[in-house]
């Protein structure tokens, strides 16, 4: 092949160096394949580091009654039954092994008195199930995987932004075209299989816990390459993000605060969550504060407090309280652990929360309540994949982690993300390796696609006039926050749909200043097409799903509709351009085998 740019050839290309990407690379590398990891940032900076509370795995170290079946049930109920049941099943079965494996590679989890991995309570999980390290579990996960990857001598291309996937002459994925952020020079990769592990999309919203990287690159690249996206309307707004000062608005406050005894109060000091227990959860939720408090000590002595309902329930409740005028001074509610636990306990269990509030807000959480409100956190939707192999509908393309859809249904339980990364990261590594072993490699490498991507990427330098990409990004975030936020309605979604058409035109007409070497303005310009594509899918899915379910709440259809619970909305694109036409169709959920359906029935 004659790539006009720096070119590399690998068996497997992993795009993204968060938990899923690193785990996939380890698996592929262990199987003797040549692997390259490409990341937009430096190694070890991926958004996985922001995960705080822990990783869910039914090891039964704290409550021996726990097992994969209960975990499966919790995941499905948390996901409002929209999940790919097979993913939920594999996840529940395999996550304990993935946690133990991390220990072999050097992870140091907090321990129980008898030397096992300690597990903590989290929303929606029936038993204390989250393996954790204080409130920095994501950092532990990524550092462990990073150190493993490095010790195996894996090639990592850092600060390298992938623009597009490249096909062969038969439509299989054959590699990718990217550019080095430090120099702005283009680089091409050919590979027999590509694994997407690019994380989420949160940067399209104004108030988000996500970093600049979460622009939905993988979602968009998959869509452009011909793959399908599902459940894109299901976006998790984490109930507890910081609301003040403005500069940190949206920054995450771990659910571990509630798991460790923190409670939510409105401006009147009322623990309002008791007023928001949905029928589905009534049987297992405490009816009084006393009962909830007993549960912290011993789960058989009471039922769980309503602060630990799944995230969608809590986020909606907070939203309602604020709208009803019972919010805190800066438009949130109060999260109080100071009056409930000792200062020593708080500092030991929640060290980074303590520092975060102390240093960024000047609030001592051992003495005062935190002001919090919902923040855009996670997209349940993503690339449609096969549960066993993580294969997408395009040959040679695999996806794992947040970029893949189906595992979490309409709402993700806290702690299920870190375990998702390693369970399906590994499966993607195996899937890609077996795909290669099957001999179905690509033939050719479409240089025309490379040239198109390069031309599009360089257009903002050539445009004589045009908009500042930062202005477009800010307007997009405002627009999505207003019209496709936590509570949605038909008219606003229509507005968003129309606006996104205009945004696409604006993205075609950007102007950047300076050169190509480490130019954040230009880098943003190359991220914007992805943001537009995923925002469009989210808006279209939200328009179609005329019901409220999990991370998708319609003011005009406030209840879940059993009919809509039978299928996902699937998006596909023709033409491969980010502003091309997106087709949105219904696709029936996988049918669950009788014995699994039984599990869900029994637990009701």
């Amino acid at each position: 092949m004659n790539s006009p740019y720096e070119h590399h050839d690998y068996d497997i290309l992993v795009i993204g160096a968060g938990g899923a990407g690193l785990r996939a690379a380890i698996e592929a590398k262990q199987r003797g394949l040549s692997v390259a990891i490409i990341t937009k940032s430096l190694l070890g900076k991926a958004h996985t580091v922001m995960a705080e509370g822990g990783m869910a795995a039914a090891m039964g170290n704290v409550y021996s009654e726990d097992n994969w079946k209960v975990h499966f049930r919790d995941t499905m109920r948390g996901g409002k039954m929209l999940n790919n049941y097979r993913m939920a099943e594999l996840h529940a079965k395999e996550s304990p092994d993935r946690v133990w494996e991390l220990e072999q590679w050097g992870a140091l989890f907090d321990r129980t008195a008898d030397g096992k991995i300690l597990q903590r309570d989290f929303g929606g999980h029936r038993f204390a199930r989250l393996a954790h390290v204080g409130d920095r579990t994501g950092l532990e996960l990524i550092r462990t995987l990073q150190q493993k990857v490095v010790s195996m001598g894996t090639d990592v291309f850092m600060e390298c932004k992938v623009l597009r996937l490249v096909h062969d002459e038969n439509g299989r994925v054959a590699g990718a075209v990217a550019y080095w952020r430090p120099t702005g020079e283009f680089v091409t990769f050919s590979a027999k299989a590509v694994i997407l592990a690019t994380g989420g999309v949160g940067k399209s919203w104004k108030f988000t816990s996500n970093s600049w990287e979460s622009t939905g690159d993988g979602h968009a690249m998959a869509l452009w390459a011909g793959a399908e996206l599902i459940d894109m309307e299901c976006i998790q707004f984490h109930p507890t993000g910081m609301v003040w000062p403005l500069s940190v608005r949206g920054l995450l406050v771990t659910e571990g605060v509630r798991g460790d005894g923190g409670v939510l109060r409105n401006a009147e000091g009322e623990r309002f969550m008791f007023n928001y227990v949905a029928d589905m959860f009534r049987a297992e939720t405490a009816e009084s504060e006393e009962e909830g408090d007993r549960w912290y000590e011993d789960h058989s002595a009471g039922r769980r407090p309503p602060e630990l309902l799944p995230r969608d329930e809590v986020a909606r409740a907070i939203n309602t309280e604020v709208k009803a005028g019972r919010g805190s001074p800066h438009g949130g509610v109060f999260l109080d652990i100071a009056t409930r636990r000792s200062a020593e306990f708080i500092r030991r269990r929640l060290p980074s929360m303590y520092h975060q509030f102390m240093e960024l807000a000047g609030v001592d959480i051992t003495r005062e309540a935190m002001e919090i409100g919902p923040t855009c956190h996670y997209i349940m939707g993503g690339v449609k994949v096969d549960a066993e192999t993580a294969a997408t509908s395009v040959a040679g393309l695999f996806a794992a982690g947040e970029v893949a859809g189906g595992m979490h249904g309409a709402n993700r339980l806290g702690g299920n993300s870190l375990s998702d990364l390693v369970v399906f990261g590994r499966r993607a590594g195996i899937g890609a390796a077996e795909y290669i072993a099957g001999g179905a490699g690509p033939s050719g490498f479409d240089l025309a696609e490379v040239q198109t991507a390069v031309k599009d990427a360089l257009a903002p330098f050539d445009n004589e006039t045009g908009e500042n990409p930062y202005d477009v990004q800010r307007d997009l975030q405002e627009m999505m926050q207003t019209n496709v936020g936590i509570i949605r309605t038909q008219s606003e979604l229509e507005t968003a749909k129309e606006a996104l058409g205009e945004f696409a035109a604006r993205v075609r007409n950007l102007k950047v200043t300076g050169g190509r070497a480490y130019n954040p303005g230009w880098n943003l310009a190359t991220d914007l097409p992805s943001m537009i594509s995923v925002s469009r899918c989210t808006t279209l899915g939200a328009l179609e799903r005329k019901e409220s379910r999990g991370g998708h709440t319609r003011e005009d259809f406030p209840k879940a509709d059993p009919e809509y619970g039978k299928y996902n909305f699937v998006h596909s694109l023709s033409g491969g351009n980010f502003d091309g036409e997106i087709r949105t169709e219904r696709s029936a959920l996988l049918e669950m085998p009788e014995e699994l359906a039984q599990l869900l029935e029994e637990a009701k």
Partner: protein
Amino acid sequence: MANVTVRVWRGDASGGDFEAYALEKNEGEVVLDLIHRIQATEAGDLACRWNCKAGKCGSCSAEINGKPSLMCMTRVDELPEGPITVAPMRTFPIIRDLVTDVSFNFAMAAKVPALLPPPMPEGGYVMYQEDVQRGQEFRKCIECFLCQDVCHVIRDHEDNKAHYAGPRFFIRYAELEMHPLDTNDRRDLVREEMGLGYCNITKCCTEVCPEHIKITDNAIIPLKERVVDAHYDPIAWLGRKIRRRTKRSADEAAVQPAP
């Protein structure tokens, strides 16, 4: 709100200088907010690294008023009155503006012999909190490389980079040496190839650590004491000979197969 002047170093390997930007100052802002405002308005090509803006990823390291700091954790209202100077980390080669080439650190990371645990028993390893807590402190490290930046051994003496791993990796070696499962002995490696002896414990690494890791007291000095055990203390040396401690070497660990 009051105005503030930010002097940002702009340039690349061919040279550069400070450029001043006058901005509005808002309540509760951090220095990274100011940099972002400059990017979004006046200088879209102002290069800086950042990811989480919450002190968890360690990307936005720079020197603010001459002090190595994270831009996302330095509040503007806590800096003294007057212009704020923001310069790139001094110890690493410049790429552009506030972005430096930190590949020295990744090269050092690649030299670390991995953990070498015994085979895992059914149901996972048994480790106790008191045995993992020392290592957990070091694993708080967010790899901002501010300790590497401030360390005069490499900051002021480029040639030492060839044989000095730096504080970030001393806490990594300390973590492995204190790991209850590890069967490796890295003490000779740390002394001979990682340059532990170059550290003169002036503690600047500890002073700048945004995670408040007691790098010097809890990692470097214990490592130095371990090296004394292995190399400088005749009594400890004799005791070891008698007890015939057989540990595997660093080389063995480097070639360990994946579990």
